[in-house]
Symmetry: C2
Subunit: 363 residues, 2 copies
């Protein structure tokens, strides 16, 4: 499999918000399109929790990326016009430094010795990458899901770099339902005896804990309405009739998701990124969401939410849109009727594409 990732060395030491620092940390990143001579056509994509830097096919890696339908020549994020950058998150395990990387002080993986990680740290790493690419001005930052939190943290800390934000199915802070789901996912992973307080093997040992956490994730990423239509009570097509084995199509669907996830994501990366989302609160910047949003000094924003999203519920995108408007930005807000829940930005491109396309074209 080709490896299209380029690597960017973060300043060393790289200080983290909650204390501690990383030595010799790096980000894996990819780019699409060409930076123009004025260096004013760069667009940064901040990702959700699990994707890597490979958002779309490019010359170095022609395999489809995680947002293939959205990025490319003539697509909504049009690489004929924009120079698109996407990095694997700091703390992740797809090329960037994270808990699975060797700790330079011990030469063994950090695991639980990795310092506490915040969304602000992810944003600062993206900021350093942008500076490292000698780009002092971003045309837009695009952030779906956790990536939207990273975009907000980027703007709150570095308000002069970007004036335009695309915030999809994200939040200025998590509510207690999302906190509860993530706490349970982390506890499920840590309860797997193979997790062994972080002393597991090469990350593939914590199989059952990661499977269960992923299944809970999928339950909160989609929507009951979509599943009613798509699966209903259809029985599973299988001869597996063990007493409590899967018998309904929906169970088989969750199995498939777990199969594809396990082995591709480091358990400790999961814990750190999940907790980072919990900590993030734009209220920390000024005392209210509105004052936090004012720190961004945004000029234009496209904010999209989905009514069927239970993890980042619609009122959270409305809160962002209202706050940015109040802070003086020109805000375009859409509440979509997509039935695929939080994942809609990945699958209901028919709805997201024209809105993102038009917004970027007008910049």
């Amino acid at each position: 499999m080709p490896n299209a990732a380029q690597y960017f060395d973060l300043p060393s030491p790289f200080s983290l918000k909650r204390g501690g620092h990383l030595l010799n940390a790096r980000l894996a990143f990819e780019t699409w399109g060409e930076l123009n001579s004025s260096k004013n056509n760069a667009v940064l994509i901040c990702t959700g929790m699990s994707p890597g830097a490979h958002a779309a096919a490019n010359a170095l890696d022609p395999t489809p990326g995680w947002w293939e339908g959205m990025i490319g020549p003539g697509k909504a994020i049009d690489t004929n016009h924009h120079f698109v950058i996407c990095a694997n998150n700091l703390g992740s395990c797809k090329g960037s430094t994270g808990p699975a990387s060797p700790d330079p002080s011990t030469e063994r993986p950090y695991r639980l010795a990795f310092p506490e990680l915040c969304i602000e740290d992810l944003a600062n790493a993206n900021f350093e990458l942008t500076m490292g690419l000698r780009i002092s001005h971003l045309r837009a930052i695009i952030g779906p899901s956790m990536g939207g939190m990273t975009a907000l943290a980027f703007g709150a800390q570095h308000p002069t770099i970007c004036a335009n934000y695309v915030l999809l199915s994200t939040a200025a802070h998590a509510g207690p339902f999302a906190l509860a789901v993530r706490a349970l996912q982390r506890e499920i992973i840590r309860s797997d005896p193979h997790f062994a307080d972080g002393q597991y093997g090469e990350g593939k040992d914590v199989i059952q804990g990661m499977r269960l956490a992923r299944k809970l994730g999928v339950i909160t990423y989609r929507s009951a309405g979509e599943w009613d239509t798509r699966f209903g009570r259809t029985p599973m097509d299988s001869s597996n009739h063990s007493p409590f084995g899967p018998r309904f199509a929906i169970e088989s669907y969750l199995e498939g998701h777990a199969d594809r996830f396990v082995g591709s994501f480091d358990p400790c990366s999961y814990l750190y990124l999940s907790r980072a989302m919990d900590w993030f609160d734009l209220v920390d910047y000024g005392g209210s969401v509105h004052l936090g949003l004012a720190q961004l000094q945004a000029k234009k924003a496209l904010v999209i939410g989905v009514a069927s999203d239970i993890l980042f519920p619609l009122h959270q995108q409305k809160e962002i849109a209202d706050g940015m408007q109040l802070a003086g930005a020109n805000v375009e807000f859409h509440d979509l009727a997509s039935i695929q829940g939080h994942d809609s930005f990945l699958v209901d491109l028919q709805s997201f594409d024209p809105l993102v396309r038009r917004f970027l074209q007008a910049l």
Copy 2:
């Protein structure tokens, strides 16, 4: 602790719907009020998955029951007028025969050797109890949550016993979201190494699996809206600062629920009752929900749903109400704005009490 339960011996063998039978099985049950001389004032309560027979205080056991606010002299289910019966479900572990009971053929607990269990079996056990109490006519059957499925299964199989139904936050069959949640809960329990394919100790060994399953349950029993108001992002009042230990009040709340549940419920009972809910489908009685409901020959029904319920969503109660109406019953349907989700029937008595009270008074 006083033990108010009386015991009723089921016919032996007691045949189960999916095959197999139980020998010397029994139900633990309690009663409130007096059966009148015409024996026409009996009301049967079918419970949700986890409660026992002790629905309210009575002479033998004055401790508060799980529906204390609803049952008693002058209360909504008025024991001055009704003779109220409530049994612990067949398959449960609070006095009735279930997987934790000794298998007469081996004298060891059944565990996974217990035959597959259906909601219909729970209903038939309640039917036998009713007959055993020499009651040939029930004034009403009241079923919240899984108990509503049991009430429907009772009526579909024994339509001449009862003409009046109170169905609260229940469903004619589960949808894929509920199937997914329950499948995950069962897998979490079975993944606990202490579960050991059912060869665990006295039921208290599977602590972590049961804790995690209960936490997932609580996440689906309440609502995000309630938690936004009640907990928000309030930090936990604690000095426990282990890296991934609980830090938010909502995490502490889930801990408390898990603490109270663990040790009080047998893991295999949980698996069997959970799966029984999955199997249940009123469509099996005639080919559609409406035709299934027509089997009940109900005269009057009170059907209540709650908009914030994600486990038994409102459209499922609407489906029951519409179907019963179509089948000729006089149906009173209410969709309540209670914010406590599926658990509203247990906690928002202010809303449920007057509706149940008025319905029962008019019978």
